[in-house]
Structure formats: structure tokens, C-alpha cells
Symmetry: C2
């Protein structure tokens, strides 16, 4: 059974201000939910699933208190789902909490105004693939807990910490940490060696990285292509940067 | 002025069967339209734009017959646009025509059931960046002339030929051409040399490449990551394959 207040609550979490106020977010789909349920970083607040899903997922939900698992009918998902084809499970979770990593000894991403939720989710997923554990987002980025970002991140939001802040202050604070910025005219990325620490900076989908961030001590790097497209999609550029600067040492 | 039959016609091109029947497609947004207008491969059928857009784009529309440029009011775009925030120009174009390239001497992509239009568009754009001129799509792929694919391809559809066909037959026909398939368990891509001809095969978002395509003579290649994500997004994997196998020789 799903009561009106629950429907309203879940719908409200579609908005950033309610996610921020409650520190919670919504995820959908069996694959993502399974990852969030077993993550040590994420606490489950409520789970809404069909009887059949619940029967098949005894292991994952075994440790949850009974009163947070709600059996609902498949047809009921229409009122709470943000997906075109609602699945058979939806969860409300507290935003993940992470133990700190040493930024000076790690590779972190900095995203400057990545506004497309699909791009942001895809970048989080790719970071997780290459074991990058921290992403700093400028205030103009899409919200990492937006349902579309959660869908595209495929559960990686439970393993990659996303922090929103002022990138300029951060670059000042860590002025001794190397920083590599994806730009259209810079050093050839194919001629660089893999790195083991530093910031990889990716800019906005149409405007690139804001000029105030491109200080002199930042290495400007380009992916030469030889073709005719004006630019690469921001998530693709981020993926290629991660592959070449981080993954290549695999 | 926009008449009812025009509205109906443009709306009908939102559906694949009408695009196939008329051999036409719709594109929106000044950046993409500008690229299509100047492309030698694409013929413009009709252009709908605000007076202000027309005034600013004399060069691009100079060679078009007067009767295919239609001045319409900004408010009118709501009835024909597929975008959330309609722009000030929309065009109807004939699908591009390409001179043939020698498949045996080129690098081509093969996409097996790439269903997400954003992924397909992004792959077309990335192919264009790395000067890959031909993409073979299985019948289960999204339609390359779907408005969402066109938006994500950012005009690259005018420069990259997309052909739909049976990939198995194609691999049989070109059995002497090397083929590299993106899989989760295969040779380490970072240890390969760049290639100058062959097929790069990318599989479906959740199922990967169908087993019937993964014959023995295909090289199975993996992007090792070292992290915890189960897989990479298909467009990101395609981007990394193109960068490492094609772009690296830049």
C-alpha cells in the first residue's frame, strides 16, 4: 500500500531543495537499487517494490527493518516513478557518506558547470570504473542526486564522492597539486605519461572551462582528432582523459 | 507564417516511418543548422526561422531558393519543436548522401543494438572528431535521424555516413578485415598499437555484443579500469576505443 503522504514525499524529492533539506534522494531500477542496498556508504530510508521483486531479493533486503520495505502493486509505480517505463522497485536513500581520501595523493575530477544530468551521471560512472573516488563540482553543475544523474551513474554514486564548491578557491588551496584541463588548444594528450595524483578539469558542454580557472600553472591538454567535429561531448572528453591519464597505468 | 500542413508534416518527421518514406529529417538549433546548411552532402528542403535569425544568417542561406525559407514568429516554434526550450530556427533536410570510401582501407564502427539516441548521437559526433567516416548500425539501433540523435550528433550526421544492415553478413563479407570488439574480458586496450584500418565493434548498453557476432577471428578488447563500476556507458567505451585505436596516431 502506498499512502498519499508517501507519494507526495517521493515526488518532492524530484526537486533539489527537498533533497538538500532532507539529505535524501530517490533511485529506481533493480540494478541500481541492488548496488545501493549493499553499499556501506548508503543508508536506506524506504523501499517500495512489487511482491515478486521482494521475493527475489531476500539477500539484499534481509538486514532492513520490516517497516521500511513496502510492498506495492506494479500499477502503483506510475504515481511515483520518474522513468518512462517504471520498474518494480524504487528506493529512498540518505545521501552517501565517505571516509576522507588524501586529495594530494589521489586523482580527483573537477567539473566546471557540467549541466546535462546524463553527462554528469556518465562521468561519475566512468570515474568509478577508473577508481577515481572524488569529484568536485562547481555550483553551476547539475545536482548529483537529480534522478537522471542517479540513473546514468548506475549505482556509482555510492562509491564516488561528489562535493559541490568553489573550484577557484580549491585550486588556490591545492596550488601545489598538478592540474590538467581539457581544452581545445593545448598539449597533445597522447604524448603525456599517466599520472598518479592531481586534478583533471572538465568544462561546460558549450562554453568549456571558465577563463578564471585557467591560471598559468594549469596544464592545458587537448585530445587531437583529425576530423571535423567542432568539439567532443563533455562526458566523452572526460572518459578519454580518465582512460589516458589514469587507466593507462593499469 | 506557418500553415497547418507544414506543422503536420514536420511533426510526422518525428516518426521513423515518415522519415524513411520521405528520406527527410528535422534538425533544430542554430549551431547544427549552420553546419547542415553549408554541408555539400545535405540538401535543405525547408527552413523555418525568426526574422532576427534570418537577418543574421544571410551568408548561410544566401544560396537557398526564397520559397524554402519561411519567416515565423518565435512563439510559433512551440508547435513544431521537439526541444524543451525551442530555438529560433528549424530545418527539414534530405538525408545526407556520401561518396563511397574504401572500407578495407578505413576504420569503421559497427554498432550492435545501441538503443539510446543520446549515445548514438554522441558516438557519431566522436567518430567525426576522430575522422571516422562510416558507421554500420544493426537493425536494433536507434534511428540515426531521430531528432534526439541529430541533437546529440551536433551536425556530424552531415559528415559521417550511417548505414543500417546485418552486421553478421557484413563481417562475413569483410572476413579479411581486422575487427576489434569492446568486451568486458579481453586483451588490454592500453597495450595495443593504433590501427589504420578495421572495424571497431561496440555492443548494446546492457547486453553488450551479441554472441553470434563474437566469432573467433574477432579481437576481444577490454578497457581495464581498476575501479568498481560494473561496466562503462557504451558511448564512453566507444570514445575511449576511438581515442586509443585511432586518435593515438595523431
Amino acid at each position: 500500500m502506498l499512502v498519499k503522504t508517501q507519494v507526495k514525499y517521493i515526488q518532492s524529492l524530484g526537486q533539489k531543495k527537498f533533497r538538500d533539506a532532507t539529505n535524501q534522494f530517490v533511485a529506481e531500477g533493480s540494478k541500481i537499487i541492488n548496488e545501493l542496498l549493499v553499499s556501506p556508504n548508503v543508508e536506506t530510508t524506504a523501499l517500495f517494490a512489487t511482491a515478486s521483486w521482494i521475493a527475489r531479493h531476500g539477500t539484499e533486503i534481509g538486514s532492513l527493518p520490516n517497516d521500511i520495505v513496502h510492498e506495492i502493486k506494479e500499477s502503483t509505480f506510475n504515481s511515483i516513478s520518474q522513468l518512462k517505463t517504471p520498474g518494480e522497485v524504487l528506493g529512498v536513500f540518505k545521501k552517501p557518506e565517505f571516509g576522507g581520501i588524501d586529495v594530494r595523493k589521489s586523482i580527483c575530477l573537477m567539473l566546471d558547470e557540467i549541466q546535462d544530468p546524463g553527462n554528469l551521471g556518465s562521468i561519475i560512472r566512468t570515474a568509478d570504473w577508473f577508481h577515481i573516488q572524488k569529484i568536485f563540482c562547481s555550483k553551476g553543475c547539475a545536482d548529483a542526486f537529480n534522478p537522471k544523474v542517479i540513473q546514468a551513474s548506475m549505482g556509482s554514486i555510492a562509491r564516488v564522492e561528489v562535493i559541490v564548491g568553489d573550484l577557484e578557491s580549491l585550486l588556490n588551496e591545492f596550488h601545489d597539486v598538478p592540474a590538467y584541463a581539457a581544452v581545445l588548444e593545448g598539449a597533445n594528450i597522447f604524448q603525456l605519461e599517466p599520472i598518479d595524483s592531481g586534478f583533471i578539469i572538465i568544462g561546460n558542454e558549450s562554453k568549456g572551462i571558465r577563463s578564471e580557472l585557467l591560471g598559468r600553472r594549469i596544464e592545458k591538454i587537448t585530445i587531437p582528432g583529425g576530423g571535423h567535429a567542432e568539439s567532443l561531448n563533455a562526458a566523452i572528453a572526460a572518459g578519454i582523459f580518465m582512460a589516458l591519464l589514469v587507466g593507462r597505468s593499469q
